[in-house]
């Protein structure tokens, strides 16, 4: 059974207008019907450009934003239906690592206190209560000792020493701060860690250190990750399964290697062709699909396929009227995990439909 299963998740934010009378004049459909499953011990990567709803989806899993509809099954329980108190208890097992390590650490708390806080809130640490267990002050001391041991342990796992305990976030470099953010998640021994753009604020060489750290921790502790990022190369590197989001919906989901070998959705293709590769030979030779225009507003998403307004492969039938379901290709084996939300995926793959040169700003072949 999947550790996390999201079914038809929707998060809509009301757009309000008016000073005296608060009227809702519409909704931003940040996440609009997403279903996905994350297997235990694996990494699911969610990729998309700004405004596609990937961050909102991550926050919705933790119930940091209100869920409009759908369900979030975590280890057999529907998080969407939990009350505040039970949800807080559940969050011990679901932790998050944020993009901006400085913004997500309290500047007035030292590292020790930041890491202890979670343990205190959840009452973790100390001997089991029962016959013969120390009570009162004696017990408090044991609890504190145990918590301190857990904190130092978490710090060491992310490559920091116990010297960091008495220091404040501003004393660390960006990469070290992100390590502290990871340690804060680790100390609660969670099952699932949601990493929202874990490395995009970091320098390239530090990025690689943090990515390697995340992988090492997964190997050692059997963690499950949901990694949310805009950088397809980063996501592909760390993930087992990759989901591509566009304007609130999943347009393609596949095994990480499959996705690179044969991207099916026109959006995935253009996204992939736009990612720069640090190799002049590859850069000069490859086909580039430049999309025209910008992302449409999620408050007023296009009808039918969300991507049809920018799609170079758009056809006159169905694309503008019928929203495509995430589905397996016709003729693909039952076991295939590669799914795509495009009416014409088969004919695009076989080359029966060619991209419209005018709609794609330019399709550059060779250099």
């Amino acid at each position: 059974m999947s550790l996390l299963r999201i079914e038809d998740l929707r998060v809509h934010f009301p757009i309000r207008r008016g000073v005296v009378v608060d009227r809702t004049i519409g909704h931003v459909r940040a996440v609009d019907g997403v279903s996905l499953a994350v297997e235990r011990g694996r990494t699911y990567g969610l990729v998309g450009e700004s405004g596609c709803g990937k961050t909102t989806l991550g926050r919705a899993v933790l119930r940091l934003v209100d869920i409009t509809g759908g369900s979030v099954w975590f280890d057999g329980r529907n998080l969407a239906g939990l009350d505040g108190r039970s949800m807080r208890r559940e969050r011990r097992r679901l932790q998050m690592v944020f993009q901006d390590p400085l913004g997500s650490l309290n500047p007035r708390q030292n590292v020790g206190s930041i890491l202890m806080e979670g343990l205190r809130v959840h009452g973790i640490g100390g001997p089991d209560e029962g016959e013969g267990a120390p009570r009162g002050r004696g017990r408090d001391r044991l609890v504190l000792q145990d918590q301190r041991r857990r904190v130092v342990d978490a710090l060491e796992r992310v490559g920091l020493s116990s010297k960091a305990l008495t220091r404040y976030p501003h004393e660390f470099s960006g990469g070290q701060r992100q390590r502290i953010g990871i340690a804060r998640a680790l100390v609660l021994e969670p099952d699932l860690i949601i990493c929202d753009e874990p490395v995009s604020a970091l320098d390239v060489s530090i990025q690689a250190q943090v990515l390697n750290l995340l992988e090492e921790l997964q190997d050692e502790l059997g963690l499950t990750y949901l990694v949310i990022a805009h950088d397809l190369a980063v996501v592909r590197h760390v993930s087992d399964v990759v989901g591509v989001m566009y304007l609130g919906g999943l347009v393609e989901e596949a095994d990480s290697d499959d996705l690179y070998e044969s991207p099916l959705h026109p959006y995935t293709r253009s996204l992939m062709s736009a990612v720069p590769v640090p190799d002049p030979g590859v850069e000069d030779a490859r086909e580039r699909i430049l999309l025209s225009g910008d992302l449409p507003s999620p408050a007023d998403p296009p009808s039918g396929c969300r991507f049809h307004t920018r799609c170079p492969w758009r056809q006159d039938d169905r694309c503008a009227t019928e929203r495509p379901e995430l589905r397996r290709l016709a003729g693909a084996p039952e076991t295939s995990t590669h799914r795509v939300a495009c009416h014409h995926a088969e004919r695009i793959l076989s080359g029966q439909i060619q991209p419209d040169e005018e709609r794609a700003e330019r399709v550059v072949r060779g250099g």
Binding site: G175, A201, I206, V277
Partner: protein, 379 residues
């Protein structure tokens, strides 16, 4: 392709920031390169390597108080050469916008939020080309159209916040090319943009260089962007160029350990999965001063005692030709003693080593802040 004399020759450029009660910071420490018409030169490096300060110094945009700029930057003009670094402010203002232009990372903060796009574009045309009224407006609309903004006459009346990020960057580029500058500096022009929009903007810059023969100085942290756009590449580390090569050589045969480390840090879309990345260890906080030896030595895998015998020079790399690097021990022929390396270098991959780097964070944090650590802004 390349003319006999370069359009801009930067020689031993240095920028020192002084603050009262604090040690002076050498943000740029003797950087030399040349720009030629119709070619793209890249300055690549991570936060704090001095790439942005270099561009600001060239454009004369650094504050005068507390900043010392040294070296020379000779720009070839039709009526004789000028040194940008010693030019009077008035003359510099005439050159900026007409002969040289700059595109910044964040298009929203580079545009005036309370002035319509149209007036911001025509302002340049009025100032440098003496165009006014209807003619300036027509020219402005034409410029916006050329950089790929649909419906330009409507856009001219709009304010910056009404444009998307990609459109704003296009508008900035339109302003930069308004007077057909011979020299253009782009400082992380696509870092704030989504990757599909980034591809559009890079394509636009490439067209400008090939069609107009502009010389472009491209400043970026992204080696992928460099690979697709730049002809010659300078890799900067701690204020100095550590390697310079034509792009084909830099990527196929990098010789400086820092360049190799950078390339090993990037997850490549086309590489087989599962291989761990091979990043540079430690962080810039571990640097030593160039005067004491190679600043990169504490993070270098090929570190030897030679590396600490004074500042290394830029020397020809094994490949020869235009490929140079600043390394005395590129192949790592002699490995350092293990204990010694651990003591001086600090952060290894193990928890013990990293804790050593930790102790250095105290004084290091302030240092990087002074150099202008821009990593937080990178979205």
């Amino acid at each position: 392709m390349s003319s006999s004399t370069p359009l801009l020759s930067v020689d031993e450029l240095s920028v020192v920031f002084r603050r009262r009660g604090a040690e002076a910071t050498r943000a740029v420490d003797g950087v030399s390169f040349t720009l030629e018409e119709g070619r793209v030169t890249g300055l690549v490096g991570e936060s704090g390597c001095g790439k942005s300060v270099t561009s600001l110094a060239l454009m004369g945009l650094l504050p005068e108080r507390g900043v010392t700029v040294g070296g020379s930057a000779v720009l070839r003009l039709p009526d004789g050469d000028v040194d940008l670094l010693s030019l009077p402010r008035r003359r510099m203002r005439d050159l900026r916008g007409s002969q040289m232009a700059m595109i910044f990372q964040d298009p929203l903060s580079s545009l005036n939020p309370v002035v319509p796009i149209g007036r911001q574009v025509t302002e340049i045309l009025r100032r440098h080309r003496g165009l006014g009224g209807e003619r300036a407006r027509r020219e402005a609309a034409d410029l916006l159209y050329r950089v790929g903004i649909p419906d330009p006459t409507r856009r001219l009346r709009e304010y910056p916040h009404q444009l998307s990020g990609g459109m704003r960057q296009r508008a900035l580029i339109a302003m930069a090319v308004a007077c057909r500058p011979r020299l253009m500096i782009a400082d992380e022009p696509t870092t704030a943009l989504d990757v599909t929009i980034q591809a559009q903007i890079l394509e636009l810059l490439r067209d400008l260089v090939t069609e107009e023969g502009t010389a472009l100085l491209m400043i970026t942290h992204d080696l992928g962007v460099v690979a697709g756009l730049c002809d010659d590449i300078n890799v900067l580390y701690a204020g100095r160029a550590v390697e310079r090569a034509p792009r084909s050589e830099l990527f196929s045969d990098p010789t400086h350990p820092y360049t190799i480390g950078l390339l090993g840090s990037i997850p490549r879309l086309d590489a087989p999965r599962g291989d761990p990345l091979t990043p540079v260890r430690g962080s810039v906080n571990d640097n030593i001063a160039w005067s004491d030896g190679c600043a990169f030595a504490p993070r270098c895998d090929h570190y030897a005692m030679d590396c600490l015998q004074g500042p290394p020079e830029l020397v020809g790399a094994a490949g020869g030709g235009a490929h140079v690097h600043r390394c005395v021990n590129p192949g790592g022929a002699a490995r350092a003693e293990p204990e010694e390396a651990a003591g001086a270098a600090g952060a290894d991959t193990g928890p013990e080593g990293a804790s050593d780097a930790e102790t250095g964070a105290d004084d290091g944090a302030e240092h990087t802040a002074a150099v202008g650590e821009d990593e937080e802004g990178r979205a």
